[in-house]
């Protein structure tokens, strides 16, 4: 990597904008392509209304984030997607948000049918040129936006030859609320809420990323004890969601014991979060600078006892899966993603680890308590439904270990008086704040203006990277396996749509 093109920083570090090299657009894009070819990962590429461009290239081995920026003189440039597939959705997003045309992009379509488009003309969701396979026996199956279960809206088009799926195109945007734009000018009283509701099932993952960015930009250190409590919050969120997912996977292959047990146990995990902060999703548990609700020794003790009990139920329910031949048979036969393609398109989180890619923000770019209290990264090799289920199972055990240690520690450590914090943000600065949500890497890129207000707030939910992985996993599968494959990714619609 050409070091001169980048500022090499770390997760949750505030950088004066002036320290990030301001490149010529052509050099900016070349630097990105070269860095990705050398093995870095394009964690974020975004623009703003002034046609400024920002890129974050993660080196997960070295734990660094390389930052670069540029400014376009006119809203067009030569697309890098043909040479760097990881950029495909980012380029489409910049086109939709700011009218910046990536010339030569092979797949330039709407990302989320942004309501207030750059052109100002009304946008009709779901109306675009869908990819079509022609042929006498080829047929098309269209599903959504409203689905058959209690699920978020999205539109799916399958090109099928008989039962076999040749291609799946996923068209989202129905949950688009305009959150990135709404954050500009902040922080204001709703900003934390916006972070928590980027994807409501990842309230802690996104809420923490928001808090961490503010703390970095304000130059505040958060006491290790409070960071430990945040770790508890995040791991409880992971326990609830992974348990729910494994139960739902069991349900999709008709294995009812695990499915019905886990449905209930997921609620038990959510109740533990509510015990700590009053909200089952962890709303308002965290706040910039610290916590709204602490875990006093008494509460930590109670929580530790309940954690042990719920974990016993969880383990009992999920272990059944691995002894049932009918389950393994279905899990192993469905939804494989090729590990090489997984890297090329930049998968993150559970689906990436299920392809043998060792990445986890908690280990690679440690934040909060994870540098001092590391977690092991779970992996599997085959990239199929089984691998994704197995990774979740391993992560459950590891998160539980973290929880028990952390809660035992908090039990012995009464809260200290926290000083009031001044949350004035550094002007003209940039912070990339990442956490490992239960789906994978949550990234917030925050930019301040001359008076320390947000001038750009970019959010990359793990689902942004991973929806295309689901499309790849479906190739050659049967349409009837879609629910199983979909559940094994369990991606967020609202986290993508923002």
């Amino acid at each position: 990597m050409n070091e001169a093109c980048f500022y090499v920083g770390r997760n949750g570090q505030a950088v004066a904008l002036a320290d990030v090299p301001d490149l010529e657009p052509a050099a900016f894009f070349e630097a990105i392509v070269a860095a990705v070819q050398e093995g870095r990962r394009l964690a974020c590429l975004c623009a703003d209304a002034q046609l400024r461009l920002f890129a974050v290239l993660a080196d997960d081995g070295a734990g660094t984030l390389a930052l670069a920026r540029a400014r376009l003189r006119e809203p067009r440039y030569a697309s890098i997607t043909p040479r760097c597939p990881q950029a495909h959705l980012f380029e489409r997003e910049m086109a939709e948000q700011f009218g910046i045309v990536p010339e030569g992009h092979p797949w330039l379509k709407p990302v989320r049918f942004q309501t207030l488009g750059v052109s100002g003309s009304p946008v009709e969701p779901g109306v675009m040129a869908f990819y079509r396979v022609e042929g006498e026996a080829v047929h098309e199956v269209a599903v959504g936006p409203v689905h058959a279960g209690v699920i978020e809206p999205g539109h799916f088009r399958f090109q099928c030859l008989g039962e076999e799926v040749l291609h799946l195109e996923i068209s989202l945007g129905y949950q688009h609320r305009g959150l990135e734009q709404a954050l500009v000018g902040g922080p204001h009283p709703l900003s934390l809420k916006f972070a928590e509701t980027m994807a409501g099932d990842t309230s802690i993952g996104h809420g923490w990323a928001y808090c961490q960015a503010l703390e970095a930009l304000a130059g505040i250190d958060v006491a290790p004890r409070l960071q430990r409590v945040r770790g508890v919050a995040l791991e409880l969120e992971r326990m609830a969601n992974h348990t729910g997912d494994l139960g739902a996977l069991a349900g999709d292959v008709g294995f009812l014991p695990t499915s019905s047990f886990c449905g209930r146990i997921r609620g038990d995990w959510l109740n533990l979060t509510a015990e700590a902060c009053g909200s089952r999703l962890g709303r308002d548990w965290l706040k910039p600078g610290g916590l709204r609700y602490d875990l006093e020794p008494e509460r930590a003790r109670a929580l530790r006892q309940r954690t042990a009990a719920v974990w016993a139920d969880t383990r009992d329910a999920i272990e059944l899966l691995w002894g049932a031949a009918s389950v393994l048979n279905r899990f192993e036969a469905a939804g494989a993603v090729d590990p090489v393609q997984a890297r090329e398109i930049g998968l993150v989180g559970v689906p990436a680890r299920a392809c043998g890619i060792r990445m986890d923000v908690r280990r690679d770019h440690p934040y909060g308590p994870y540098a001092d209290h590391p977690v092991a990264v779970a992996r599997a090799q085959n990239g199929n439904v089984h691998a994704r289920a197995w990774v979740r199972w391993k992560e459950l055990a590891e998160s539980c270990r973290f929880l028990e240690e952390a809660l035992a520690h908090l039990e012995a450590m009464p809260p200290a008086e926290e000083p009031a914090r001044d949350l004035r943000l550094a002007p003209e600065s940039l912070c990339v704040s990442m956490t490992e949500g239960w789906r994978g890497e949550v990234l917030h890129l925050v930019l301040t203006d001359g008076s320390g207000r947000f001038s750009r707030y970019k959010v990359v939910d793990p689902s942004f990277h991973n929806w295309f992985g689901l499309a790849l996993a479906l190739r050659g599968e049967q349409v009837s396996d879609f629910p199983l494959c979909n559940k094994s990714f369990n991606l967020s619609y609202c986290g993508f749509d923002l």
Partner: protein, 258 residues
């Protein structure tokens, strides 16, 4: 097989005895706020300033709160210098009319009355709902979904989420209704055979919730369709949702509980 049976034995019967008894609710749960009258210092606007969604205003009677906007974040309680606002653990929050969500000292929450006449006769013992997720954060869906699990076992009350609007007696909607979902919401509603009910779950579906200032959304389902039941919260506790559904069907009085 033996493992499955053993697990079944270990996991036991866990369906909550509600509505016979109340399940234990978390100590920090923020349910129905209790508002005290006559104690606000002159000119105090602390709660109003603290609230991120303009859900609370000082008035001569004391703080006035719109539970349809409230996110139950508790910031007003934290800020109030006189301790006038206190969130209780009372989970019962559902009302029939939007207007009933306006509360102030001396005005009790008028909990949802049961459906009447033909609707009660048709739906009272069997209510099939099509859940529509229309632009929120998927938080309310979590707690709507959980009612279907064995812990709550919604089916025992004759309530069920169904796959098609054609099979439904009404829609249960979460989310503020984004512009991108408006057409889908209308079509889903039209596809439900009449007579039908509309249930708004969560601050978003009632008023737009935290997204109420966004031009990308419509400020809740009430802007499109007549709403029969409002269940506030961000998100509401599952018990709050279940309480609302049972009240609508007149099942709580019937079972003589709570």
């Amino acid at each position: 097989m033996i493992h499955i049976l053993l697990s079944r034995w270990r996991q036991g019967h866990r369906t909550l005895p509600y509505p016979k008894t109340l399940p234990a609710l978390p100590e920090r749960l923020r349910g129905m706020p209790s508002l005290q009258g006559g104690a606000c210092p002159a000119g105090c606007e602390a709660c109003q300033k603290a609230c991120p969604v303009e859900a609370i205003h000082p008035s001569p009677e004391g703080p006035r709160m719109d539970l349809g906007h409230c996110l139950f974040c508790g910031r007003c309680q934290e800020t109030c210098p006189e301790g006038v606002i206190r969130f209780t653990r009372d989970h019962r929050l559902a009302v029939r009319d939007r207007e009933h969500l306006q509360v102030f000292p001396g005005r009790e929450l008028q909990l949802a009355a049961a459906l009447e006449g033909e609707l009660k006769r048709l739906l009272g013992r069997s209510l099939k709902l099509r859940v529509v997720s229309a632009g929120g954060c998927n938080g309310c869906e979590v707690d709507v979904n959980v009612l279907g699990t064995l812990a709550w076992d919604l089916g025992r009350f004759g309530i069920q989420y169904v796959a098609s609007p054609r099979h439904a007696d009404g829609i249960l909607l979460c989310g503020p209704v984004t512009a991108n979902m408006e057409l889908a919401v209308r079509k889903t509603y039209e596809a439900v055979p009449g007579p039908k009910v509309v249930i708004a779950v969560g601050a978003c579906a009632i008023s737009g919730g935290p997204f109420r200032y966004q031009q990308e959304q419509r400020g809740g389902v009430g802007s499109l369709l007549p709403v029969d039941l409002h269940i506030p919260g961000c998100p509401p506790h599952p018990l709050t949702i279940l309480d609302g559904l049972l009240r609508l069907l007149g099942r709580l009085e019937e079972e003589g509980r709570l």
